[in-house]
Amino acid sequence: MNRDEQVLNPAPPEAQDRERLVLARIERARRARPRLREELVTLAHGAGGKAGRTLVEAVFLEAFRNPLLEPLADGAILAPGTSRERPDAERPVERSADGRVDQAASAPALAFTTDSYVVTPLFFPGGDIGDLAVNGTVNDLAMCGARPEHLSAAFILEEGFPIADLRRIAATMAEAARAAGVTIVTGDTKVVQRGKADGCYITTAGVGTVAPGVRLGASEVRPGDAVIVSGPIGEHGVTVMLARGGLDIEADDLVSDTAPLNGLTARLLDACPGRQVRCLRDATRGGVATVLNEVAQTAEVAVVVEEEAVPVRPSVRGACELLGIDPLYVACEGRMVAVVAGDRADAALAALRGHPLGEGAAVVGRIGEDPPGLVLLKTGFGGTRIVDLLVGDPLPRIC
């Protein structure tokens, strides 16, 4: 629609100017390093939005600061020969702007990551906490462009937790590890008093190898690139929400999408060699919207998404509609966002669709220059809006 044709009486120019000034002021405020104002941890700090990011930056990054941690990526890439005292001592390695190591001229590097799993309920349609604990860490490695190799698994168990459930979780983990081609090589077990934990928490860490020539990261993204999601979004989050009960919504065909994505990323990297894959992110907590915001802000680009191109299954759409939440913010555990060079979009899509986990892959948008740092959505209705980082939990609307 050409808006100009409709404008009969444009808004007074001074109002437009004032609005523009206000928007610029807001953008400055938004870019300023957020301050951690709370005195106590609230649930909002764990919901994958701005509050969590602020907590991590103000407490952990402040305390642990180093070049490998600073990008706050899914995992760290350790260049061969990296030593703790002098990270760059053994051989000169090129670093990209976001601290990533350039592997173009190096031997295989090590990717290292860790993640904790505290899902309720422990068992849900399509998987359990064991699948998540393996697949989640495998995927974090895969998103670094790594081939996952070995995992550790640490368990915090509540007194009274059924051994049968633990066996079931361990069996799932073994199966998931086999499917992903990784081995669980070390671990730890702690038991806490009844009431001090919610059944079973699992922390896994993983290592993998990054082939020479692979350099992924949000800072690699540039205008003209294409944005791809690997399949229908939001299935894990909605499945778990419904499995908690209490909503009285049934969706028989809904199962969690938890899956290892390393097969898919390997195919994609083969199909688009030479740094044509810019960035990979699994759309876990905070969903696709959060990933896209990180890309927009890190790369200082605009991400323009077509709402109608985003694959969402009808049952997920229906449940989200009823709950008043946006599928773009709902967690996936087996879906990723890939940003690839614009002219390789078709090749990338073909590669993804050739894999069972990528059958539903789709190009959902593209990278533009302006306005930098923002994700814009062209709605199915034909309008435009911002997709911002989520604040707190996705809350249901009341009327």
């Binding site: 629609m1 808006r3 409709q6 404008v7 009969l8 009486n9 444009p10 808004a11 004032r18 609005e19 523009r20 206000v22 928007l23 002021r25 807001i26 405020a29 938004r30 957020p34 104002r37 709370e38 106590l40 941890v41 609230t42 649930l43 909002a44 701005k50 509050a51 602020t54 209490g246 605009a302 323009v304 009808p314 229906g318 509609e321 008043g324 533009g368 220059e369 302006d370 306005p371 923002l374 814009l376 959505l377 062209k378 709605t379 199915g380 209705f381 034909g382 309008g383 435009t384 809006r385 911002i386 911002d388 604040v391 707190g392 939990d393 809350l395 249901p396 609307r397 009341i398 009327c399």
Partner: protein, 375 residues
């Protein structure tokens, strides 16, 4: 998705937009207020303003239940929540609403047992499951949610669930609209009437708006085509020189409302003489409280409620935003000191609040977006 997609059809929207543009008289500016926060949410979420000519502006009204709760009531609720053995329950929207001393989320982090529920019946279930605890449901909302609160109280009475009570903050829409109409600093051409409230109260209560104030009102549904159609019908009335109450949302709203729901409200609740609205001040006969006969389920009688009065922060201009006098971005602290993460005013909290909707969905310069989205 059936019953949804047909109300989000871009082709129909384009056709309607052309008819809207054709109805606008050259040189005239039009202002319509969408009373309900649900409409505000729809307008921004679907980018509906892209379809309106620049001479038509939508003004956001007071119909956001969370937004109109004064800070003192939040503090009262937290004071109840912090009493021994209490489980406080409420809708998710309330969790981040700031009081004078933090929000529910902060009180929860300090140790209060505050739980999010999807329906007051869920709160009643918590009471049934925890007989040794005192369960309070923080009831908010217009006539839309009042019947379910009232039904829950009746159910609690029938089942003799003695550990359940309601902290009633239900408000009524008509006095708020009247306050807007009487406000000297606002010139409106018509209203987009609240859809869900009208399923309960019907369309008759709005008739005074046409008779006494000479403004049209079109009750509308919550899909973007509904809202666009309500704008169109308002413009048609103005073009034809008519001033009437119309029902665009006939698929859900009966002209006479829902007598059963009204009877249930009337059974359990009565009008308070006066109630404080955030930003609008005290408005008489504008809110509901629990009747004497259900006193044992009334948290205001069961507990010592401090009755806090907290002045809104000076910087906050929620009142002006709720009355439609200011656009969200015109507030001095909008987007800088007041953001969804650190809200100063309620309008920045609820997804139906005008400021939150504008900040989350609409905060960009139209010219730059036109450039960016040009394929």
């Amino acid at each position: 998705m059936r019953f949804v997609d047909e109300y989000r059809d871009a082709g129909k929207a384009r056709a309607l937009a052309a008819r809207i543009a054709a109805l606008c008289e050259p040189g005239r500016a039009y202002k319509f207020m969408e009373v309900c926060g649900g409409h505000t949410h729809t307008i921004y979420k679907h980018g509906l303003e892209d379809y309106l000519p620049a001479c038509v502006s939508l003004v956001h009204g007071p119909g956001c239940p969370v937004c109109v709760i004064p800070m003192g009531r939040v503090d009262d609720a937290i004071a109840i929540a912090e009493q021994p053995d209490v489980i406080m329950t409420s809708f998710g929207d309330m969790m981040r609403v700031p009081g004078g001393n933090g929000s529910f989320l902060d009180a929860k982090a300090r140790g209060a047992d505050i739980r999010m529920v999807y329906s007051p019946l869920d709160a009643l279930k918590i009471a049934r499951d925890n007989p040794d605890r005192r369960v309070v449901f923080l009831a908010i909302g217009f006539e839309t949610t009042a019947p379910s609160t009232a039904m829950t109280v009746m159910r609690a009475a029938a089942e003799r669930i003695g550990n359940f009570s309601v902290f009633c903050n239900h408000v009524t829409i008509i006095p708020a609209i009247k306050a807007i109409l009487d406000s000297p600093d606002l010139r409106l051409d018509g209203f987009i009437g609240p859809g869900h409230v009208s399923t309960v109260i019907g369309c008759r209560p709005y008739e005074f708006i046409a008779h006494d104030y000479g403004k049209p009102l079109v009750v509308a549904g919550f899909e973007p085509l509904d809202v666009l159609q309500a704008v169109h019908r308002n413009l048609v009335q103005l073009a034809e020189g008519r001033v009437e109450i119309e029902n665009q949302y006939g698929r859900v709203v009966p002209w006479n409302g829902n007598p059963k729901a009204l009877a249930v409200i009337n059974e359990v609740m009565e009008l308070r003489p006066t109630f404080e609205w955030r930003g609008l001040g005290f408005i008489s006969d504008s809110a509901l409280c629990v009747r004497e006969r259900y006193a044992e389920f009334d948290a205001e009688r069961v507990f010592q409620v401090p009755g806090f009065r907290v002045a809104d922060p000076k910087a906050c201009q929620c009142g002006e935003v709720l009355k439609g006098v200011l656009k969200p971005w015109e507030c001095k602290v909008f987007g800088t000191a007041c953001t969804p993460e650190t809200p100063i005013g309620t309008c920045m909290v609820s997804s139906e609040g005008a400021c939150a909707a504008y900040y989350n969905f609409g905060r960009f310069s139209r010219d730059r977006v036109k450039e960016a989205t040009r394929a």
